[in-house]
C-alpha cells in the first residue's frame, strides 16, 4: 500500500502481483463464507428439528449403524438431548435448552460471516485500486498526489512533536526548579483546600516538580506509582486502606489496643500507606521521612478531612520535615489468661510508673511520653507493676517455672489440681510463718483460697518487705540478667478486682511480715547457692 503513496510509479508486474495476492485473499474469504453459510443452515435445520422433537413420544427412524447400513428403529426420550460442548465434554439438557445453545452458536457463526464479508470487501476494493491505478495513468481522471518532503523539515517536526507528546518531560532550562514548598505548602494546606480535586492537582504538580528537581530523593518510578496509586485510591474510599505496620509509629501504637488501631485505620490515609510502602520498598526510614515532606501537605489536608485530634503533625523547620503521629495514651485492656477470665486494666499508676521508669532509665526517644517498644522485652519492661512504691517489671508468664502453678496456666485439669494442693501447702506454710499476720491478711488468704488462683510469691531481695499472696508481680531485680532466661519465675500479673483492696492491705502487711517467703521463692534462693 505504501507504493501507492507517492513513490515511483508501479511497474505493471508489481501491480499484477498485487492483484493476484488480493484475489487469492478474496477467494479464500469466499470459500470460508460458503462454509460458514452451510454451517448456519445446518444449525437452522437443527433448530427446527429440536423445536418439533418433543411433540412426539417416539419417532420412526432409520438408525445408521456403520457408514453404509441402516436399520429401522425408534427415537425415544425425545426431550433429552446430549450436547457436545467441546473437548469431549457433553451436557444433557432438554430440547428447549438445546435450542438456546444452538442459537448461541448461530450468533458466533453470524459474527464469523460478518467478519469474513468485511475482509472480502476490503480486499476487493484494494484489488480494484490496482486497476484504478492503471486507469488513472491512462485516463487521467484520478491524479496521483505527490509531495516532496525536504529533509530539514523533519527535524523541526520532531522538535515540535516532543512538546506535544503527552508524557515528555519539558526541558529543564525552561522550567525553574521549585523549592519544595514545605512551609509554604503548610500554610496553604492549613487553609483547607476546598475541593478534593484541587488537592489532587496540587499534589500532582508537586510530584512532577519533585521528579524534575530532585531525582535522588526517590526513584521516579516510585513517585509515578504513588501518583497512580493515589489516583486509584481517590476513587475508592480512603477509609478502607489497610495500615502497614510502620516501625516509626510503633512507639505510638505500641500500647494502643485494636480500637485505636481502627481509629488509625480511618485516619490513615494514603499518606501513611505510601510511607509504609516506601519503607518497605526502600527500607530506609530516612527516606520515608523525606517522603513525608511530599505528603506533608497531604497529611495536613487529611486533617482537614479527618479532623482527628490525636494526630500531631509536625512539619519540621529543618530541611527534612517530619511527621510525627502521636496518640493519646489510652488505658489498655490487656487480657491475660488467668484461668478465671480476669482482665488486666491499666491503672494510672502504671502509666506513671512507666513514665518514671523511662525518665530514670534514660530512654531517649522522640516522644518522651510514650515508651519505645521495639522488642517484646521492652513490653515487659514497660508494663511494670507498682509494688510498694517501687516499679518492678513483670516477668513473662511464659518464663515462669512455676507456670503450672501460676494463675495464668489454664492448660490442664491436672495442673489445676496440683495447684490446689500446692495452695494448701503454701497456705499452711505461710500460716506457720506468719504468726503475726493481720486478720486482714488471713481474710485475704481466704478470699484468695476461695475462688481465685493464687500467685506464688517471690520476694525481691531489694524490697524484702513484701508478703505472700499479694496479687502483684514482684520480680527480683528489674535489670538483673537473671531475669530474662530465668527458668524459675512466675508471676504474672493478675490484678483482679480485689487488687485495690489488697494493695491497701499489702502495704500494711508488707511492713509487718517481712519473713514471709513462698516455698518456691525459698527453693529458688537455695538454687543459686
Amino acid at each position: 500500500m505504501e507504493a501507492f503513496g507517492g513513490s515511483s510509479p508501479l511497474s505493471p508486474a508489481l501491480v499484477g502481483r498485487f492483484r493476484q495476492e488480493y484475489e487469492k485473499v478474496v477467494t479464500s474469504c469466499q470459500e470460508k463464507i460458503q462454509h460458514w453459510k452451510k454451517v448456519e443452515s445446518d444449525y437452522e435445520a437443527l433448530q427446527d428439528r429440536l423445536h418439533t422433537l418433543p411433540n412426539k413420544l417416539s419417532y420412526d427412524i432409520m438408525v445408521p449403524f456403520g457408514p453404509l447400513a441402516f436399520m429401522p428403529g425408534k427415537l425415544v426420550h425425545t426431550n433429552e438431548v446430549t450436547v457436545l460442548l467441546g473437548d469431549n465434554w457433553f451436557s444433557k439438557c432438554s430440547a428447549k435448552q438445546a435450542v438456546e445453545l444452538v442459537e448461541h452458536r448461530k450468533k458466533y457463526v453470524r459474527k464469523m460471516l460478518d467478519d469474513l464479508q468485511k475482509v472480502m470487501k476490503n480486499f476487493e476494493s484494494r484489488a480494484e485500486f490496482t486497476d484504478l491505478q492503471k486507469m488513472s495513468d491512462a485516463a487521467g481522471d484520478f491524479v496521483d498526489i505527490r509531495e516532496e518532503i525536504e529533509d530539514h523539515s523533519i527535524e523541526t517536526k520532531g522538535k515540535y512533536g516532543t512538546a506535544h507528546k503527552l508524557h515528555s518531560k519539558p526541558k529543564l532550562s525552561t522550567v525553574s526548579e521549585v523549592d519544595f514548598p514545605t512551609n509554604g505548602s503548610d500554610t496553604k494546606f492549613m487553609g483547607h483546600f476546598q475541593s478534593e480535586e484541587e488537592l489532587w492537582a496540587h499534589l500532582e504538580e508537586l510530584e512532577r516538580q519533585e521528579l524534575l528537581g530532585e531525582p535522588d530523593r526517590y526513584s521516579a518510578a516510585v513517585a509515578l506509582s504513588c501518583l497512580e496509586l493515589r489516583k486509584l485510591q481517590a476513587c475508592d474510599s480512603v477509609y478502607t486502606q489497610r495500615i502497614l505496620p510502620m516501625p516509626n509509629t510503633v512507639e505510638t501504637n505500641g500500647e494502643d489496643a485494636s480500637s485505636s488501631e481502627e481509629k488509625e485505620d480511618k485516619r490513615t490515609d494514603l499518606n501513611r500507606m505510601y510511607r509504609a510502602e516506601d519503607c518497605i520498598t526502600q527500607g530506609d526510614f530516612h527516606k520515608e521521612v523525606t517522603n513525608s515532606d511530599l505528603f506533608g501537605g497531604q497529611v495536613n489536608g487529611s486533617t482537614f478531612y479527618h479532623s482527628d485530634d490525636e494526630d500531631d503533625i509536625d512539619v519540621g523547620d529543618n530541611s527534612v520535615p517530619t511527621i510525627f503521629f502521636s496518640h493519646t495514651v489510652e488505658p489498655k485492656r490487656v487480657r491475660i489468661n488467668t484461668g478465671k477470665n480476669t482482665t488486666l486494666k491499666f491503672s494510672e499508676k502504671k502509666e506513671e510508673a512507666k513514665r518514671k521508669r523511662k525518665n530514670s532509665s534514660g530512654n531517649g526517644h522522640a516522644t518522651p511520653e510514650l515508651p519505645n517498644i521495639k522488642t517484646p522485652a521492652d513490653i515487659y519492661r514497660v508494663f511494670v507493676d507498682v509494688v510498694n512504691g517501687e516499679y518492678v517489671p513483670r516477668k513473662s508468664i511464659l518464663k515462669s517455672r512455676s507456670r503450672e502453678n501460676s494463675v495464668c496456666s489454664n492448660t490442664s485439669d491436672n495442673s489445676a489440681a496440683e495447684f490446689d494442693d500446692r495452695q494448701g501447702v503454701q497456705r499452711s506454710i505461710n500460716c506457720d510463718e506468719a504468726t503475726q499476720s493481720d486478720n486482714s491478711e488471713s481474710i485475704m488468704e481466704e478470699e484468695e483460697a476461695e475462688g481465685r488462683q493464687q500467685l506464688p510469691k517471690k520476694l525481691p531481695p531489694s524490697s524484702g518487705t513484701t508478703e505472700a499472696f499479694s496479687r502483684t508481680v514482684i520480680e527480683k531485680e528489674p535489670l538483673s540478667p537473671s531475669l530474662i532466661p530465668h527458668p524459675v519465675i512466675a508471676h504474672p500479673v493478675l490484678p483482679t478486682i480485689l487488687e485495690r483492696k489488697s494493695e491497701g492491705v499489702l502495704s500494711k502487711a508488707s511492713e509487718e511480715t517481712p519473713k514471709r517467703i513462698s516455698k518456691f521463692k525459698a527453693a529458688r534462693m537455695q538454687q543459686p547457692s
Binding site: 492483484r19 443452515s41 445446518d42 435445520a45 437443527l46 428439528r49 419417532y59 420412526d60 427412524i61 432409520m62 438408525v63 445408521p64 457408514p67 441402516f70 427415537l75 476487493e124 484489488a127 480494484e128 486497476d131 486507469m135
Partner: protein, 88 residues
Amino acid sequence: MAGRELREEGERLRRKEELSRKIKEQKVVVDELSNLKKNRKVYKQQPNSNIFFLVDRTETLSQCKNTLDELKKAHQEMENSEKTKIKK
C-alpha cells in the same frame, strides 16, 4: 473496472450453475416421490448427520414441488436480468 466486471461475471455464472444443478436435483426428487407405491415409507435425512426421520410421503412430495418451483423462479429471474443487461 474491467476486473470488477469480470469478477461479477464469474459470480453470476457460478450462481447460475448452482441454481441449475439444484433445479435438476429437485426435479429428480419430485419424480421419485411421485413414482412411489403407496405403502412405502419415506425418510428424510437430518442435515449434517446420518439420521433419517420418517416422514409422510404426500407431504414431502408437496414440499419438494414447492422448492422446485421456487428454484425455477429464481433461475428465471436471473435469466431475465441477464437478458436485460445484454440488451443494454
